[in-house]
Structure formats: structure tokens, C-alpha cells
């Protein structure tokens, strides 16, 4: 995967530069002569680039997508604000599904390996990526995580992104779907306050529904806001804690596995 990797880049880059210096010089002369520009000056000129700023990330994402396709791996990118219950949703999902299909998890957080430890306690492999100052996972780091995790063929991969409703929306990791998790303690207007993420997701999980009797949360309004930002979005209300609604989520996962031709028990 990292035949194209930028990891050794800065090293080879400075090397190239030193090396090419005399070459550059002779080149300049030829160039100036051929185009009859003012000799001796280094003229300003325009260069057309027309390149997407995220082209590099998108290139790695395409590599990851190819990797998943070749091996029959359903990759899901779970995004939400911090504290929406992503990790609990994952541990509860794994407990219900791990006999049926091989599962691997990539955990993204700024610091600590706590989430990966919680996942490993369920008996499935997990790798923690600490982004440090970074606010999101990018496709390059996920590619490296795949190299060390080596997820099985015909398996399910969850990528738990950094808790952040803004930045991860722009970074394709090569996943089949972004799944956004919104907990009912957060307020029903989150989809219109943070429209980028709800626009980028294919499925919204409305989590912690067991707390609804204690809150003023208006589920109908929340769903309407989400549909306003993204008419295609599907919505599943559930409580990972009590298990209410988990069956629908498992059915959605199995339908996605089937659509990708991935075999599960």
C-alpha cells in the first residue's frame, strides 16, 4: 500500500533538490532562450494546477477502498461528537455479531488507548490511532493501521473516528458508509448546527433513546432537520445500553454485508 506513501517523502525530497540543482540551472537557460523571455531575470509566470486540495487524501482513500474490495471487507466510518456512545455501541454490536463474522476495529482519539482496550476486552482485534493535535483521521493513517491490523478477508471493519462533528466529514477514509451517531442528550438541532457531517453520512443512529423520558428532546424535529440537510439519510433510533432498537441496526449491517457479497454465518 505504501509504494506511494509519503512517509519517506521529506527525506528523498531534500535529496532530490540538492541533486537537481545544477540540472535546474542549465534547464533555465534553454527555457529562456527558446521562449525569448528577458534573459538573466527570473520572470514571474503563471502555472495552472487545477488540483483538489484533498487529492492526496482521496488518493489514499481510493487505495483503501481497493484493499477493502479485494478482500471483501465492509468498512464503516463512525462519526459523532465526543460522548455520543460510539464505543458502547461498538462493544454491544460486537457482542451480538462476533460469532457471525470476523470484526476488526480502528480507534481514533487525540490521546490514550482507552477505547481500543474496551474493544479488545470484547475479544476482537483493535488498533488505536492517537491523532495528537489532529482533529480527524485521514486515509493515510488508516492505510497504515490496515497494514498492522491485517483484517481478515470476508470481515467487518469499524473505524471509530475522533469525536468531532466538523472535521472528519471532509476526509474520505475509503469506507463504504459514514455512520453518524447522535445521542438524544445533545439536542435535536445538531443536524442543522453541524450540517457538513449529516450531509456526508448515509445513516444516522439516534442513540440513548432510553433517556428520552427524562429529556425535552423532540425526535420528530431532529429527524426532520436531518432529512433537511440530507434527504437520502436513513435513521435508526436505538439504545446501546438497554438493547432497544439494536436488532434494526444489526439487520442494517447484515443487509450491507449481503449487498457487498460478504459471507457471514
Amino acid at each position: 500500500m505504501c509504494g506511494i506513501c509519503g512517509c519517506g517523502e521529506s527525506h528523498s525530497h531534500s535529496h532530490d533538490h540538492d541533486h537537481e540543482h545544477p540540472h535546474d540551472h542549465s534547464h533555465d537557460h534553454e527555457h529562456a532562450a527558446a521562449h525569448a523571455h528577458a534573459p538573466g531575470l527570473s520572470p514571474k509566470r503563471m502555472v495552472q494546477i487545477e488540483q483538489d486540495i484533498l487529492a492526496k487524501n482521496n488518493h489514499y482513500a481510493a487505495e483503501n477502498r481497493h484493499y477493502f474490495g479485494e478482500r471483501g471487507i465492509l468498512a464503516l466510518n463512525l462519526v459523532s461528537s465526543p460522548g455520543s456512545g460510539k464505543t458502547t455501541l461498538l462493544t454491544e454490536t460486537i457482542a451480538r455479531l462476533k460469532e457471525d463474522i470476523a470484526i476488526t476495529v480502528i480507534e481514533g482519539d487525540q490521546q490514550t488507548a482507552r477505547d481500543a482496550e474496551r474493544i479488545r476486552a470484547t475479544g476482537v482485534p483493535a488498533l488505536q490511532i492517537n491523532t495528537g493535535k489532529g482533529c480527524h483521521l485521514d486515509a493515510h493513517r488508516v492505510g497504515h493501521a490496515l497494514e498492522s491490523l491485517q483484517p481478515k478477508h470476508q470481515s467487518l471493519l469499524f473505524i471509530e473516528n475522533v469525536g468531532n462533528l466538523v472535521c472528519p466529514s471532509a476526509f474520505d477514509l475509503g469506507e463504504a458508509h459514514k455512520v453518524v451517531i447522535l445521542s438524544v442528550t445533545e439536542g435535536e438541532d445538531k443536524p442543522v448546527k453541524y450540517p457538513d457531517m449529516f450531509h456526508a453520512a448515509d445513516l444516522m443512529i439516534l442513540n440513548k433513546t432510553d433517556l428520552l423520558p427524562y429529556l425535552d428532546f423532540d425526535s420528530g424535529q431532529c429527524i426532520q432537520y436531518a432529512k433537511q440537510v440530507n434527504p437520502r439519510i436513513k435513521i435508526l433510533p436505538l439504545s446501546a445500553k438497554t438493547g432497544e432498537g439494536m436488532d434494526s441496526w444489526l439487520r442494517w449491517l447484515k443487509a450491507e454485508l449481503e449487498l457487498q457479497g460478504i459471507v457471514y454465518a
Partner: protein, 113 residues
Amino acid sequence: MHELSLCESILQVLEQQAEAQQYRKVKTVWLEIGVLAGVEVEALRFSFDVVTQGSLAEQAKLEIIDMPGQAWCLPCGRNVAVQQLYDLCPHCGSHQLQVNSGDQMRIKELEVE
């Protein structure tokens, strides 16, 4: 959001292109930024100055070309202008809109020497 990462990506492109296009200094960078791209332009300018310090693009000017938002309205069957992802169709009030322009972030061209 993540304007610092975006600027790091921009600088990488400028450095890569320096070899291919034979330039040593970048004077101006033109970016096309869609109004729906979620990019905070002031944060982008600030990050660009920080990231390009000591590079071939140090003190380069950043020119932002705002690209308008556009979506296909399913009920109307035509393109309409939108400013936000949660906008309703200005003609029929529907939210059945598919954004088809205005979410781009592209490096358009450079002035170099």
C-alpha cells in the same frame, strides 16, 4: 475546520509541482473554495501563513475565489442556488436538494518565479 491540515496539503502540492513545473518561489496562490465546503477563509489565511514559513511559498499571497453553491431540486427539476446545506429550495420550499456544486476546494493556479 481543519484549515491547518488543508494548508499542509496545499504546501505539499506546491512542493511537488516545483520540480515538475520548474519554479523556486511561489508568489500567489489562487484557490477555488465553495461556499458549502465548510472552510473558514480567515482561519485558512492564518494557517497558510503559519504553514508556509520557511518554505518556497513564504509570504505568498492567497487569493480566494468564492464558488457559489448549487443544488438540483427534485420537485422543480432544475438547479437552484443554495447558501447552506440545510437551505430549502427557494422556489418550491422542498428539501429534496442534491448539492452538485459549491463543495469544492481546489488549487486553481499559481504565480511563480
